[in-house]
Symmetry: C2
């Protein structure tokens, strides 16, 4: 690896850590009684080899029933079974990856759940990936013409359009295809963007785009929670929310590639499954 | 198919339907205020072809927070992708299967959850499969020397020993290996028995064994609920139960072959996912 690539890894890693810090602050600002994220460092592997690790940040608050905002920087070698599945790993099993992943489950059923992650991956190739998507809990808000969804998409479209006129349409479509539950014939939420293996040949441009994807989420999602978290609701809305969260669990355990990948590569279980909603109903 | 096989299918199918009826009655007898199973018939496919179907029976009661006891008799042709995966289906894709499946989630955390199912499958071959396993909710009861687990195993051992001296040890071991969560390094519960592709060459003997597997469950599991459902408990036990149910969800969606198979072969979603616990926590 060139010194240049090492610098890029450092730059990307620092950025992902910064997204974690900033977003934790923005979310904490919505907690009326000072609930704070609890940070916990973890190391990958059994400790005999340096394989990287990360910092989990978990919040159980009043506005936010449960949130996980995790930074990780991991490296090592893929096991033989994974070398064929990861781009550029067949020639050389060594890999490095850093990223930030975010999942927020607000307590108020009127406030949508959201997910965001961005990452840089290095094998013999290197690329960025990530995205963000919104999952309104109530049927009344699960519409493309609802203000939350309109504004969420607008924030991502603005970020995309700054970099490439084709990005938004392409990545929005990938998001819709990815966050889909075939057994229910339902989308997980109302969309967002999803991209992977982004390497345009201009690392700086791809990194700048990935930074804007993080910023777009930081700009809009806490705003959406802010406008909803004090809305009155009753038992019916709460139950609708808890049932909708069941679909979220079904998606994550049945289809999410990140979850599967993490569980099969000996990832940090606590961190991987921290995306599970705090309370769920399958009545 | 010979007339003889048709008679066997009818005999097995009638038995599975009878297990459903008997077990529903035994469970209903534990409901203090007369909560009853609601039965619902369903048909497989879009209705243009006769592909069989079944009867779901769901209970949301006071003793039992949620239970599903389902009978099904389905037939048709396996899709090309499944022909290679099912014994005897590569030569001829036609299949027939009937069975009864049971999942009970009591409300009281001291009362264990349990699962049972038995089935007969016919392709160019034919066999029986099934089993039953116990999942105590509280750590204090998740021990091999706890009375509920001892008695549950004893009931199955008696049933097994009546047929073959090797059955209990073999099928208990298969159960332990099957109901295991590798990502947690945990068993789902405290075991039971699990068997599949049972065809000893003596259909009557295999059917008699499968009947005894059903009877063993009917004999012991309602008794175990009966001794636990009025035990006092507090918020701590309730939370421990709701967290343990999360592991149950993880197992069913990540590893259970029946769930996967059902979802991928266009099974009845409502019935397949009726095994999900009614309320679950991932705090």
């Amino acid at each position: 690896m060139t010194i240049d690539l090492e610098q890029k890894k450092k730059q990307a890693s620092d950025w992902f850590a910064q997204v974690q810090t900033t977003l934790c602050e923005r979310i904490e600002a919505l907690e009326p009684n000072g609930a704070r994220f609890e940070r916990k460092a973890w190391k990958r592997g059994d400790g005999t080899l340096d394989q990287g690790g990360g910092t989990m940040a978990m919040l159980n608050g009043e506005t936010i029933e449960k949130a996980g905002i995790h930074f990780s920087e991991v490296y090592g070698e893929f096991s033989p079974e994974f070398r064929k599945q990861v781009d550029g790993a067949e020639e050389d099993p060594r890999f490095w990856a850093a990223g930030v992943s975010v999942i927020v489950h607000p307590k108020n059923p009127h406030a949508p759940t959201a997910h965001m992650n961005t990452r840089m991956v290095v094998t013999t190739k290197n690329w960025f990936g990530g995205g963000g998507d919104l999952t309104p809990m109530l049927d009344a808000a699960r519409r493309q013409d609802h203000a939350d969804t309109i504004d969420f998409h607008k924030s991502y479209q603005t970020a995309c359009d700054r970099h490439d006129a084709s990005y938004y349409a392409t990545f929005k479509d990938e998001c819709d295809r990815y966050f889909y539950l075939p057994h229910r014939n339902e989308t997980r939420g109302t969309g967002g963007i999803f991209y992977d293996h982004l390497n345009s040949g201009d690392w700086e441009a791809d990194f700048a785009f990935t930074q804007d994807v993080g910023r777009a989420f930081i700009d809009i999602y806490p705003e959406i929670i802010k406008r909803r978290y004090q809305t009155e609701y009753g038992q019916a809305e709460r139950e609708e929310q808890l049932k909708r969260r069941g679909r979220y669990v079904e998606f994550n355990l049945l289809y999410d590639r990140g979850t599967m990948f993490g569980l099969k590569t000996g990832g940090n279980i606590e961190s991987i499954l921290s995306s599970m909603p705090p309370l769920v109903m399958w009545p």
